[in-house]
Symmetry: C2
Subunit: 356 residues, 2 copies
C-alpha cells in the first residue's frame, strides 16, 4: 500500500457553524458550544484544531463557520491562516456547508483527502483518534470510497442516527444508515455489535466527494460551481448559497451513496449535548459535587456549579445544575436539563434577544 | 388626665445601628437589614420613620446609628434634620446606644417622652401602632413609669425573650422578664395569655430614664455625663463611649427596674429575622413561588427568587430560596436558611471582607 500522506494532501474540514442553545446561559447565538470551555482545556473549537497538530499542516486545516462567528473563530485559531476560515453566508445545514468547503478547497489544495470533523465534539485518546483518521484517510485515498466514522455505542441512545455495518477488520462496509431508533430498537443495536453511532464525521477524496455529490445531490453543488465559474466573487456568494437546499449531508448523500465504508472508532467520543453530558467530564468531589469557580457548599450533594465571576453559596440542596452567567442564572434539577431548550424558546417568544 | 402631648414633647428614638448578616448576600456590613427593601415599600428604616409621620414632629425624631452607616442613614431620611442622626462611635449594644441618645436629646428637647423603636422591624396596622404608642406615652408621662411593649405571641418562638404580665386593661404590670425559653416552655407561654414577646420597644420620660439608669446602671451613664460636662466635644466621644459596658438595655436596666408597665400591642409585628420570615410578607403565586425581579420558572414549586439585575431561569426545583446579588449568589433549601450565618462565618474566616 503506498503512503497516501505523500500521494494526497490530507485536509481537515472542521464544521464550526453550530448555534446550539443547550448550554444556555453559557452558550448564546454569538457564543455557541464550540466557543465554550466546558470540557477539557480550552474551547472545544480550539481542542478540535489542536488535536490535529503535528498531523495536518496548518494551511491544510479549514474551518467552516457563519459570518456572525467568523471573526471570533479566526481570533481563537491563530495557528491556521485567516483565509482558511471559510465563511458561510448563512447556516444551511451540513450538505451546503461541505459543498462550499469542497469548491473552496479544491481550488487551493487540489487532489486532497478531506477529513470532516465537528468543532463541538469532545474526543478522548488523541493518539487513537489520529490512528483512526489515518486508517480512514488511507482507505478513502486508496479504495476511493466515501468513509464514515462509526462510534461504538456505550448505551442505548435514542437521539442519534445509527450505522449498520457488515464485514470484518478495521474498515467495515455500511449496510444501512438507520434513523434515530425507539428505545427497544436502540437496545438491540447496542447488543448487536454491528451498529454504530453516526457522529457526522467523514473522510473522502475531494474528487470522490465531487463525483458523489454530482450523482446524488447535484442541487447542492451546481449553484456553487456556477459561482466559481463566474469568478467566485465573495459579494455574490450569498446569492448562490441561498439557492442550495437546506439539507444534511447524511440525507443528501450518505444514505444514497453505494459502497460506503465505515471505520469503527477506538477513541472515546462525546457530542457534549447537554449540561449533564458535560458533567461527566468532571470528577465530582466526595459529596458528588462539581464546582467550576468559587463556591461555599454546606450540606450540598450531587450538584454542579458552573460559576461566573461571583461567589456561589449553597446550603441544603441536591441534584442541581447551577450555571451563573453575567446576565442570566440557570438553576435546574439535573434530570430536567432538557428544559433549557424550553427556557430558550420562552426567551425567544418574549423577544429577549439580549439573552439569546 | 391632662393632654400629655402638650405637656411633654414626644420623641422617637430609632435604633438603627444593626449589622445583621442573616440576609446575606443582600445584607452586608455596609448594607444591613434596615437599609433593605425586602418587606413592604421602601427600606425598613424608611418605613420606620414614615410610620411616625403626622404624629411626631420631624425634629423630634432621632436615629442612632454607627459612624459607618451614618451618611447613608441621613441620605435615606431627608425628612428629619441631619443633626438628628446621632452617631455611635462604635456599636456597644443597646444600653450605651440609648444612654447616648438620652444625653444628646435631653440637651435638645428637655422634658420629653422617649419612644424607643427599632429600624429593622416590620409593623402592620400603622394606625393601631400609633394608638398603642399613644397609650404608652400617656402612661409613661402620667404614671412616671418605664413602659415596655409586649408583642402577643402567635407561635411558640424560642428565640425571643418574654415578658410575663399581670393585671388588666390596656396597660399591664411586668411580673418578670423571662429568658429565651425551651420549646415546651414557649408552648406554655403561648397558651398562658400572660406572656408577651419582648421586642425591645420602650417608652419613658427622659427624666425617668436618667433616674433609673443612675440607679441601676450608673456605669452606662457616668462617662457620658462626664463627656457632656467637659463640653461634649465630638472628637472625644469615642473615648467616653469606649468606657461604657457593652450590654443590652434589658439586662442593664429593665430586668432590675421595679414597677415596669407593659402595653400589649395590637399591631402586627415581625423582626424579619431571616429569609423565610421575609417570605411570609410576599403572596406566593399558584405554585407557591415568590419572585422579586425577572424569572422564568418551569416545574418549580414553593421557592423564592430574590433577583438582582439578571434573569433567573429555574426548572424542576422546589423549596429553594435563591438570592441573586451583584457579587454573590445564595441557593438555599428553605429549611436551611439559618445556614446563612455559617456561610458568613466561613467568609469571615477566609478573609473575604469584600463579600461581608
Amino acid at each position: 500500500m503506498p503512503d497516501t500522506k505523500q500521494q494526497a494532501p490530507k485536509i481537515a474540514v472542521v464544521m464550526a457553524g453550530g448555534r446550539g442553545t443547550r448550554f444556555w446561559p453559557r452558550s448564546r447565538s454569538s457564543r455557541p458550544k464550540q466557543f465554550l470551555s466546558i470540557v477539557g482545556e480550552g474551547t472545544l473549537l480550539h481542542q478540535t484544531v489542536a488535536r490535529l497538530d503535528g498531523h495536518f499542516r496548518p494551511e491544510h486545516i479549514f474551518v467552516v463557520t457563519t459570518a456572525e462567528l467568523a471573526e471570533e473563530t479566526r481570533r481563537m485559531l491563530p495557528e491556521i491562516p485567516a483565509a482558511n476560515v471559510i465563511v458561510e453566508p448563512e447556516g444551511r445545514n451540513t450538505a451546503p456547508c461541505l459543498a462550499l468547503a469542497l469548491v473552496e478547497i479544491e481550488r487551493r489544495v487540489p487532489g486532497g483527502v478531506m477529513v470532516v470533523l465537528s468543532a463541538d465534539h469532545w474526543i478522548g485518546d488523541p493518539d487513537l483518534f489520529i490512528e483512526d483518521v489515518e486508517t480512514a484517510v488511507k482507505h478513502a485515498a486508496w479504495e476511493r470510497e466515501l468513509v464514515v466514522f462509526g462510534i461504538r455505542p456505550t448505551y442505548p441512545e435514542t437521539g442519534y442516527g445509527y450505522i449498520e455495518a457488515e464485514g470484518q477488520g478495521p474498515v467495515l462496509r455500511v449496510k444501512a444508515f438507520r434513523e434515530k431508533p425507539p428505545m427497544d430498537q436502540a437496545i438491540q443495536y447496542l447488543a448487536s455489535g454491528r451498529h454504530f453511532w453516526n457522529a457526522g464525521l467523514f473522510v473522502w477524496t475531494l474528487q470522490d466527494f465531487r463525483a458523489e455529490l454530482t450523482r446524488h445531490a447535484p442541487a447542492v453543488l451546481a449553484p456553487l460551481d456556477a459561482w466559481v465559474a463566474a469568478g467566485a466573487d465573495p459579494e455574490s456568494l450569498a446569492e448562490a448559497y441561498g439557492q442550495l437546499p437546506e439539507v444534511a449531508i447524511d440525507v443528501a448523500l450518505m444514505e444514497k451513496a453505494e459502497g460506503v465504508a465505515v471505520v469503527p472508532t477506538r477513541f472515546r467520543w462525546s457530542d457534549v449535548g447537554s449540561w449533564p453530558a458535560a458533567l461527566e467530564f468532571h470528577e465530582p468531589d466526595a459529596d458528588g459535587n462539581v464546582v467550576k469557580g468559587e463556591a461555599i457548599l454546606l450540606e450540598t450533594r450531587d450538584s454542579a456549579f458552573f460559576g461566573g465571576k461571583r461567589l456561589i453559596a449553597a446550603s441544603g440542596v441536591s441534584d442541581l445544575i447551577v450555571v451563573d452567567d453575567e446576565d442570566a442564572l440557570l438553576i435546574c434539577h439535573r434530570d430536567k436539563a432538557q428544559s433549557v431548550k424550553k427556557i430558550v424558546e420562552r426567551l425567544k417568544a418574549e423577544g429577549r434577544e439580549d439573552l439569546l
